[in-house]
Symmetry: C2
């Protein structure tokens, strides 16, 4: 569909340019030269001469098609499934941490997101499909889980299914990286059992991909790098620099993303307007990354490889640069600026959008430019230490690869999964240490500027009740400081276990708008209530005693009736036993428990609230929101955080 | 040192054969042919002719040197550091789960293990150095942690350091695999914070390795595979078969390992006796694995690659086998049997020993034999489906690689970390799916035969209090069923908060041999006690009231004194306040809490005990050992487990 903006295949309109040229056996297919079966729109209307008018015509059609695709995507999302927009990973994280967003993983979201992401990518918007892929996989997992009551009815089990599904989505066809992504980014709590299940899912997904082989090429490695040359220890310097650049880009990206104001059509228009003239922004982003990762050889004729080769300096970086290099560098720097801004605006608009590929592209451009920058004389100071004649020296493709990893790391703050994904994408096992350095630097650098990755920031922006499990809690408050009711607040409203009647309970429930009670949730109680009312109207009335204990103690009944002024228990309506809806094992902490421990319990046990007791007596309770508010309060009074937030 | 058993380098006695031949510029160094500077012991005593006597002489010296090294290793371990034997990983797992083994991570263990592992490997014993490496790294971590009070004094923080150190040990120089190994195998609870720290450690370790470059070769990939050919979907069948073989080997190995009876010298003698005559067992195990992983080309002259090459069938597997192949296959099968038995006995003896390399070797032999087995006519049935003329078909090196992964998987039951380690060892990114299949099959197959990997079995064998965090708890017992005291048992001995005197407390402590109390540990109390006694002998006496509350309530004192027969509080020795040693935030559960939840709390919060309450009143307590005993009891009455255990 992306190539539809350029032209159409005469043989079969659903072929893209590459397939069209393949099927017509034009093996010397080149991006710039059209092949016989492929007709550009300009050629179709007979305006095939390459003058300025034709260029403008192509330009206009390119923009019109882009706008059409973007409009369709935006309309679909707006009308049918508002949850389908964005990458979906912040929401996935929130759901996996125990929060329920109804319909977020439903079939409509899945359907609209699948179609929407195709349209959005075809519109040439600066977005990737990896994040949405993870969201769609989770939708599949959720829908399938409902077929098996064991998983569909148990929220904890369903979260395990979602974690495994996220792993199977395998961003960028990297099975190992997919499992690690699910572990490090998507999932909240990841037991080893889930690790194995994710591993299994990922294995099946990779096997099926191999079996189906949709792209017609035999290997799964997307940006396979051919070079096997080594790197020098001195190059750690530039690698760290790339890490810093990536971290800066990531932090800037995250900051800019808190203003999601831009509109789909405007962004598409501006993207199409600006992307068309520059070769590097016009081409498919994946192809751009592949180009940037590649190494120059003497036989290369591309602009990026325009070195003045001669017999003595026969490797990239040791040959003087030709005019093509300078022109390519300028174009790349413009592309860098454009992509950086476009990525920011695109991620905020209301279409399905991911950020893996755009981030990789931005970083790859930075790396390639840095790798080519010194226009190096290989006998000058730092280089003569590690450049040997006849040996490859600075490999700008490698720099592009490191830069790409750093940018993605800066945006998402992944470490282990980032390195695994980059390894599986490129096959560059030699470069594991540079990749680790870039990932670490961009994470550390980025963390100094914004508190978390893009997903955490989006969670904060949307105000989801997400308890960050990466932060350390270094304060000395105790449970009594956080619980409610505090000193001066209204007392807790209590339900007594065997001394309230239906009327008391109804009054209490009407007076409060709390949805979750420590021992049951409002919904359960309401359902229970309604069924009692409809079935037993005749026998139970508003005076019926309600008890939550195993057996009704006669003394309690008598006491109650004495209070109510009745002299005997005869003639009273039968008591109502509600024990089966009571949670008999609430989690409790003492009032002296350090908040550090309370936080650990909330995180690791996935609590929504805990009771606070003193010497066995109930004092109050702490909810997840109390904890979140407390952490925010502590941050706001912490002088270290004032500088940056 | 290993080569010392064969001969000595004239130039520098500390060079091994390879370095010796390098330094004398014998570039066509071959394992079989000696180079000029290298003198075998037979040559040194002048007996250089290659007759039967010389062979016996070499054989004898080989055995004697082996015995000498083994004796030294065994003596060092026995005399100085008994904890230095074995791989240390089961104990690491136990320590990381919260149990303390004093001295296990001390400096003596580190020192003796370092020397011992060198000696044991040099003795030609069938063992690896990877597990011991992890243990030694943890020792370093532990020693360094003591330099920083923040980490040395806090057991939880120290465990984080140990996890990170284990990752830095990076089995087989695989930085990513090291982190994952620490995550999947060594560590008990692995928060993301620890993941990043481990990642950082591993990065620094890999960078230093690159900087120092101890082996003089530029790349870190140990068994780099050169082949880049693809694999066919039909081959999934044999890969699964290899997985099953690996799982069977692993299960058999684990079963056999529960009888650690063999003695070091005997094992060494038998190993040396049997290993010498077979080329494949005599050579260094790492070199054997490298050889087995390699692919045959027409120019190869090794016995393993003795194919009848001709112009039409120019790839391994599509050429008919020559006589060398058959002889190699026989030798490999003998080597398989020998290595299998030797690995089992070696792992049980009292020297430092790991099992990565031996397991890989066993599996690689199995794979290579299977890959060469069919002596295939490539135009016969299953093969003609995927073998194309002029294309590589069955790559027996790939089968060796898959087999090796399967065997290691069968023994350790790793999944994700296994695949990562194999990838980093071989660089075979094309083969990630076969590796995943082998890992999964061997794990699933092995798990049907023994309950856990070798490390879990060793933990069980040694009776360490380790709460397996991989198993699901699917029973419906509640806390009241597990706690002590049970019905009919002696009541809990209680300390009252403000109504006991010193004498009462001493009597109570003398009567019980319990070491840990829910609110403090015996040690703290004893230290506190001793310091009080020595400092304040004059003021406190056995009648002193002990109170654990914030303030002494006058009524309580009066009540106490009334009980004791005293009429007034005047003249009484001053009361003793022990509040500061009381843990004010013990974890409690109600008696109705399902054991599934209790188990989760023990695992995730790292508890050693929890109090059981009912309506706020203390009923009893559950310790970690109670939980372990309960799980064992449930297993023993479960009919599904009776078959295998």
């Amino acid at each position: 569909m992306s190539d539809l903006r350029d032209g159409i295949c005469a043989e079969a309109f659903w072929f893209n340019k590459e397939q069209c040229c393949w099927s017509s056996n034009d093996t010397q297919f080149d991006d710039e030269q059209a092949c016989r079966q492929w007709y550009t729109w300009a050629e179709l209307v007979g305006d095939s001469n390459k003058d300025f008018g034709a260029y403008i015509f192509k330009y206009l059609l390119y923009i019109l098609w882009s706008l059409l695709f973007a409009l369709l995507a935006a309309l679909l999302v707006k009308v049918f499934a508002p949850y389908a927009c964005g990458s979906g990973i912040p929401e996935m994280k929130t759901i996996l941490s125990g929060f329920v967003i109804r319909g977020y993983l439903g079939k409509w979201t899945l359907l609209i997101k699948s179609v929407g992401i195709m349209l959005a990518v075809s519109a040439g918007l600066n977005l990737g499909k990896e994040g949405p892929m993870v969201h769609m996989a989770a939708c599949c997992g959720n829908i399938i889980a409902y077929l098996f009551p064991k998983y569909g009815r148990n929220e904890a089990k369903k979260r395990e299914v979602l974690s495994a599904a996220a792993a199977a989505a395998s961003p960028l066809a990297a099975p190992l990286g997919g499992v690690l992504f699910s572990l490090e980014e998507a999932s909240y709590y990841f037991p080893l059992k889930t690790l194995w299940r994710s591993f299994f899912c990922s294995m099946v997904a990779a096997s099926v991909l191999k079996l189906v082989n949709p792209f017609g090429n035999d290997h799964l490695v997307l940006f396979y790098v051919e070079y096997r040359s080594t790197w020098s220890v001195i190059e750690i310097g530039p690698f760290i620099l790339l890490g810093v650049i990536g971290g800066l880009f990531g932090a800037g990206f995250i900051r800019a993303n808190v203003f999601p104001i831009a509109e789909v059509m405007l962004v598409t228009l501006v993207t199409a307007l600006l992307a068309f003239p520059n070769t590097y922004t016009r081409m498919n982003t994946s192809r751009l990354i592949k180009l940037l990762f590649s190494k120059c050889g003497p036989e290369d004729e591309a602009e990026l490889c325009d070195y003045k080769w001669n017999s003595t300096n026969d490797y990239s970086g040791s040959a003087p640069a030709g005019p093509g290099i300078y022109s390519a560098m300028w174009k790349l720097m413009l592309a860098y600026l454009f992509k950086m801004v476009a990525t920011v605006f695109t991620f905020g608009i209301k279409v399905p959008s991911g950020l893996f590929i755009p981030s990789l592209a931005v970083g790859a451009i930075a790396g390639r430019v840095l790798g080519n920058w010194p226009s190096p004389r290989m006998d000058s100071f730092p280089f003569r230490l590690f450049c040997r004649a006849g040996q490859p020296c600075i490999n700008s493709g490698l720099y592009a690869m490191i830069g790409a990893a750093a940018a993605l790391g800066g945006v998402t703050r992944m470490t282990l999964s980032l390195v695994a994904i980059m390894l599986e994408l490129t096959g560059g096992l030699q470069y594991i240490v540079p990749l680790m350095i870039a990932a670490m630097t961009s994470k550390v650098g980025g963390d100094r500027l914004t508190k978390g990755g893009i997903y955490e920031e989006h969670i904060r922006l949307n105000g989801y009740p997400y308890l960050d499990n990466k932060e350390e809690f270094a304060h000395t408050t105790i449970a009594a400081d956080v619980m409610h009711p505090r000193r001066g607040e209204a007392q807790l409203q209590l339900l007594y276990q065997d001394s309230m009647n239906v009327e008391d309970l109804e009054t209490l429930m009407a007076a409060s708008d709390v949805n979750g009670y420590p021992w049951w949730c409002r919904e359960t109680l309401t359902i229970c209530w309604d069924s009692i009312r409809s079935q037993k109207r005749g026998r139970h009335c508003r005076d019926s005693l309600v008890y939550f204990t195993e057996h009704l103690v006669a003394g309690a009944v008598a006491a109650r009736h004495t209070d109510a002024g009745a002299s005997s228990t005869d003639g009273q309506p039968p008591a109502l036993k509600l024990r089966r809806i009571v949670d008999l094992s609430p989690i409790t902490v003492t009032d002296q428990t350090p908040m550090e421990v309370v936080l650990e319990m909330f995180r690791k046990l996935g609590l929504r609230q805990t009771l606070v007791t003193h010497n066995g007596r109930l004092l109050g309770l702490i909810t997840k929101k109390d904890v979140l508010r407390h952490i925010e309060y502590l941050h706001s009074i912490d002088p270290h955080n004032l500088i940056f937030s």
